[in-house]
Subunit: 188 residues, 2 copies
DNA sequence: TGATTTAATTAGAATATCTAAGCATATAAC
DNA sequence: GTTATATGCTTAGATATTCTAATTAAATCA
């Protein structure tokens, strides 16, 4: 499979010729992939802007977000959540600890474990820009008709499921040789 | 705004209690945000796996993908496309050039510009896993009913629009041209 | 008890990422 | 035509990210 065109969000929105192409010649599956890229790119840009605003790097912000949203966690759980190795998480936590944004506490029950939580300072910091972003999204969202809201949730559920399903399907094919063969067919 | 809960994809799918919570007590806007996070996380994991398989780092893979999908570009265009500074792109390109995956050519018309393109070796490498992933998605997608496919495209368009709109001030700007200009400024 | 497993950290190295400064070319002003 | 300004890319220097492998400490198991 090949992309017909994969412009950034701006190009897609501003170029009438591309809009035409998009509407008429692309399959819905391809449209979905293009749109997903736009969505991810847009989110990425926003997160970078937020991290700049509150003076954290992007990985640091992501860890802070996870801690705020899920609550107290061990570095191991955190590393699974953000899809980084434990060693990487440890080094990012070191910097967040130095900034007094997180707290490390040895587990009392299982002394191998370390519980990470946000300090008051950390909670305060995270009250900043990110919430505003989400609020804006929510406001836009809630301006829509209920049927459209339901439609979007159903669609996102579908997409999320399909993306997860790819992990399942691909799992038995992690042998590189097989992957290569498959991609021979895949090209064009 | 606060998240009620933001579990990883697996937790959401496997924990009946959470499914219950999700269905009944969350607003659709919150559901959408949770689902978007799942989608982004899933995509991120997949990209990391792909980069590992073909022996590139994630930033390197992302540059290669952009070049494959859009074609010849200057470092400046590339940096806008992947939302990194030009200096960062230069340093990643250095490494890709050392691996003989990309080519640098001084512009003949405007000699300040440098045109980046994939070498044959680079094209060959990129025929690997990523296409397979997309194909899997497409296959799942095309198993659905046409009405459901259309619904998903419409929903993703909506979401993409709302995420872009966040770059604007609260002003309700429905003219797409203006939307674009504003989002250019927003990235600074 | 001794061996194995699990959780976190440390060590060491490559890469990524940014800002600021530098260099070469293009464009504009006069 | 020459000077000033702008543009496109690279370099320099600093910090942060990220990995694998080795280490330490605690729990588990046989």
């Amino acid at each position: 499979m090949q992309w017909l065109l994969t412009p950034g969000g701006c190009l897609y929105n501003s170029c009438p010729l591309f809009v035409e192409l998009f509407r008429n010649t692309m399959k819905d599956s391809q449209k979905s992939l293009v749109l997903l890229r736009q969505i991810i790119r847009s989110t990425d840009m926003q997160e970078k802007e937020i991290s700049r605003l509150i003076g954290l790097t992007l990985p640091q912000l992501i860890l802070m977000q996870a801690l705020r949203e899920i609550g107290q966690m061990t570095p191991g759980e955190l590393s699974k959540e953000v899809v980084l190795t434990q060693a990487t998480v440890t080094s990012i936590l070191d910097r967040l600890e130095k900034k007094k944004l997180i707290l490390r506490e040895r587990g009392s029950e299982d002394k191998r474990k370390v519980w990470i939580s946000l300090t008051d300072e950390g909670i305060e910091l995270m009250k900043g820009a990110p919430a505003t972003r989400q609020e804006l999204f929510v406001r836009h969202f809630e301006d829509m008709q209920p049927w459209e809201q339901s439609m979007i949730v159903a669609s996102l559920e579908r997409v999320a499921y399909m993306l997860n399903a790819q992990h399942l399907d691909a799992a038995p094919v992690l042998d590189i040789g097989q992957l290569d063969r498959a991609s021979e067919d895949a090209s064009e």
